[in-house]
């Protein structure tokens, strides 16, 4: 959202601070080794679930192999520390990078395959990793696993249970903040476009393939971090810890908490950890319970605990909050549009036996407005689709300022400045009206991923400028009063 001056944001910040402080004070509030152990474990699982939520909840890529990525992180960290004598502080980032590399490899098939092929591949992948952990015993110690993983230490002081807990907590909080920042940035908008309306993304210049890999790598980085912490906390890791049910467990946690909800992973992990209290006698029924829970939640509460809470909150909410971002109207001079010359010559496009375009030619000088008129089915939209790269042409040439753009990827063409709108609005229902408009600025935003994750002043400024600009446009069409509404609640949404 634009300039965080909403009362809601202040409350959220205060609430978050209280939660974090309370969590940090846990070792003094509740005594007992067991409590600390569970709390640390919670943080570890939370980290991994956070990553999976970004990938699956926001990006729409179902992965049943997330546990395998955690396993990779755990094993890399453990082996480096035990066999290689590395310190935790070096093994930790290496574990993250290792998991990220594996995640990128796992992501490659997604570029061409549709979602469920991909889900199956991640499943197969999880099994492969499980096998490798057992079979490659010269490296991984096989069934015996890696024993005696030392705790991290700073200057000779080895971390005790409490120190480890604080480390895990700190990492969880940091990961949450970074994730939140990224999801509020153009990447978050693009991810949701990937999930809900890929065409909207492509039309705004989002390279979907690259985004998928980025989402994968991000989730893998978090999984690797979780794995390293897992190894250090348990001190002994064996292949048995990382079976297919481990991946399914993360799926459950994320679905239970609420896919695509910021606090989903937290609620999911918390709820899940309350279950053992109810399930203490049912260890051997664990998988069955997972299955039943997954089914019930997916059917009756598809937005999980977070979604249910959100629905409750909406019932009691007052009127929608208007955005009070400063609208700098006349202050910004509008640059004169120079434009580029478009030449379409002899373009032909058939769909099966139907010739949609036959020797279509067009000459649009730079800086002019050109209207194409024709009856239904005459090929107007096809021409548009062909020029913007959404359909390939069979024959002919398309030149912009003398350079051919035929055959180029649609997102690349959009990024080069050639844009189009769609006949039916391609909206992202989950995003607000303002955010939908801001999606269009995707390719012109300059802040880098790290800058966005850390919310540097530059990134913040750019975000505010874009939001103000988007708000200006909304005001022009009279929608600024609805800027904060989710797009699903306005007509055509």
């Amino acid at each position: 959202m634009a300039a965080a001056d909403l009362p809601g944001d202040r409350i959220a910040f205060a609430a978050g601070a209280v939660v974090v402080l309370a969590a940090a004070a846990l070792p003094w509030l509740l005594r007992g080794e067991y409590v600390l152990f569970v709390a640390t474990q919670l943080c570890v699982y939370y980290l991994a679930a956070l990553g999976l939520n970004v990938l699956m909840g926001y990006g729409g890529q179902t992965s049943i192999g997330h546990g395998a990525l955690v396993a990779v992180g755990a094993y890399i960290a453990a082996l480096l520390m035990v066999d290689g004598g590395f310190s935790f502080w070096l093994a930790f980032p290496l574990a993250m990078l290792g998991a990220a590399a594996v995640g990128a490899a796992m992501a490659l098939p997604t570029l061409r395959l549709s979602a469920w092929y991909f889900a199956l591949i991640t499943l197969g992948f999880a099994r492969v990793v499980a096998s490798v952990l057992t079979e490659w015993s010269s490296l991984t110690h096989g069934f015996d696993g890696v024993v005696g993983v030392p705790p991290p230490s700073i200057g000779g002081h080895a971390f005790g249970d409490r120190d480890l807990y604080w480390l895990a907590l700190a990492l969880s909080v940091a990961a949450f903040l970074m994730t939140r920042n990224l999801l509020a940035s153009r990447y978050g908008r693009a991810l949701r476009a990937l999930r809900d309306n890929p065409l909207a993304g492509t039309g705004s210049g989002v390279s979907l393939g690259r985004l998928k890999i980025q989402a994968f790598v991000y989730s893998a980085l978090l999984a690797g971090a979780a794995g390293a912490l897992f190894a250090v906390q348990k001190t002994v890791i064996t292949p048995d810890d990382f079976g297919v049910d481990f991946s399914i467990f993360f799926l459950l946690v994320v679905v239970l908490g609420g896919l695509g909800r910021l606090h989903g992973p937290l609620l999911g992990t918390l709820t899940f950890f309350l279950l053992p209290e109810l399930m203490s006698g049912l260890q051997s029924w664990r998988l069955l319970v997972y299955g039943v829970l997954l089914l019930i939640i997916s059917l009756y509460a598809p937005d999980g605990v977070a979604g249910a809470l959100e629905a409750l909150r909406k019932r009691f909410r007052r009127a929608p909050v208007a955005i009070n971002a400063p609208i700098r109207d006349a202050a910004v001079p509008k640059p004169r549009i120079v434009g580029a010359a478009l030449i379409v010559s002899g373009v032909a496009k058939r769909f099966g036996g139907v010739p949609a375009l036959d020797e279509a030619s067009l000459n649009v000088p730079a800086g002019t407005i050109h209207a194409i008129v024709g009856p239904n089915g005459s090929g107007k939209t096809t021409l548009l689709n062909v020029v913007t790269g959404f359909y390939p042409i069979d024959r002919g040439a398309i030149l912009v300022d003398g350079k051919s753009i035929a055959g180029r990827d649609a997102a690349a063409i959009a990024r080069s400045g050639i844009r189009r709108t769609f006949q039916t609005p391609k909206l992202i229902p989950d995003l607000s009206v303002l955010e939908n408009v801001m999606l269009g600025a995707f390719s012109s935003e300059r802040a880098s991923l790290p800058a966005l994750a850390l919310r540097t002043p530059f990134a913040r400024r750019e975000h505010d400028e874009r939001a103000a600009e988007a708000l200006r446009h909304l005001r022009f069409v009279g929608l600024d009063a609805r800027a904060a509404d989710p797009a699903s609640e306005i007509p055509h949404g």
Partner: protein, 283 residues
């Protein structure tokens, strides 16, 4: 090249192809992929084995009943886990991935609890037997011939079915649901039918695999992936297609096994057999 390998390959391949075909039946109608399919196959084998031992039913009766049972379970899967998701606004996205996975988990664990982890033997149907008959260059058992023949027959029958009115209706719904509705084709009814048929075939695959591979809860995962392999290599959506790539993939395993060094060969064979006979998921 010894022909035994081809024989084993063809039979194993036939089973995988059958699994692939059962996956296709659902896919053609709903464009979804049932992640519980491997569990359905496993269910078929185990129910048949139980019926044969516990109830002492004649083979063909037990086989028929088991296949019907699995068909019903698949039908229930659609009713409970798939149709509600698909009928949601926007097609439900990929919710079916999670629900079918959940159903698979449930089936696997309930069955595991009831049947236990030990693999169960299914004898071949009379008059066939698993005893290999020597034909000079290679040996093949009458049962293996039976399996290969049956699978080929099923595929042909299925292709013929898609040429009938109901079959075409199924393809129509997958192509364009609204247009089909306008022509008085009920997509829900057809989806249920497809799931039922898919369950029948999957159960049958499990039963056929029984005399050769042992019926066990550990089967499901590898079967799902191999069935998918079959369907994918041939081109998802086509029924005939799983057959040939799967004969290849079915053969490639025994070929690979033969051509490795003896030590590794023994280890691999032991491991793949133990994969089939392995315990239920370590719940």
């Amino acid at each position: 090249m010894r022909f035994d390998i081809l024989v084993t390959g063809l039979t194993a391949g036939s089973i995988y192809a059958l699994v692939g075909v059962s996956l296709n039946v659902i896919y053609r109608r709903t464009n979804i992929f049932n992640l519980a399919q491997g569990n359905l196959v496993m269910l078929g084998g185990l129910v048949c084995a139980s019926a044969l031992t516990a109830l002492a039913l004649p083979w063909y009766v037990a086989a028929l009943l088991s296949a019907l049972f699995v068909g019903l379970v698949a039908f229930a899967t659609d009713w409970v886990a798939v149709a509600p998701v698909l009928s949601r606004r926007g097609g439900g996205g990929h919710g079916w991935l999670v629900t079918t996975l959940a159903v698979g988990l449930i089936i696997e664990n309930v069955v595991g609890k009831i049947v236990g982890p030990d693999p169960m033997r299914i004898p071949p149907p009379p008059p066939l037997s698993v005893h290999p008959i020597n034909f000079g260059a290679f040996a093949i058992s009458s049962y293996q011939i039976g399996v290969i023949a049956i699978v080929a027959l099923i595929v042909v029958a299925l292709e013929a079915f898609y040429a009938t009115r109901t079959g075409r209706a199924i393809l129509a719904v997958a192509e364009d649901r609204e247009a089909s509705l306008l022509r008085a084709i009920d997509p829900l009814h057809l989806a249920r039918l497809s799931f039922f048929v898919s369950g029948l075939i999957a159960g049958l695959a499990g039963i056929l695999a029984g005399p050769m591979f042992y019926a066990s809860v550990g089967l499901d995962g590898s079967l799902l992936i191999r069935g998918f392999e079959a369907a994918a290599m041939g081109g998802i959506g086509s029924d005939r297609a799983p057959l040939s790539p799967d004969y290849c993939s079915g053969s490639s395993r025994p070929i690979r096994r033969r051509c490795w060094r003896p030590a590794i060969r023994t280890r691999r064979r032991w491991r793949s057999r133990s994969a089939f006979c392995s315990r239920a998921g370590k719940a």
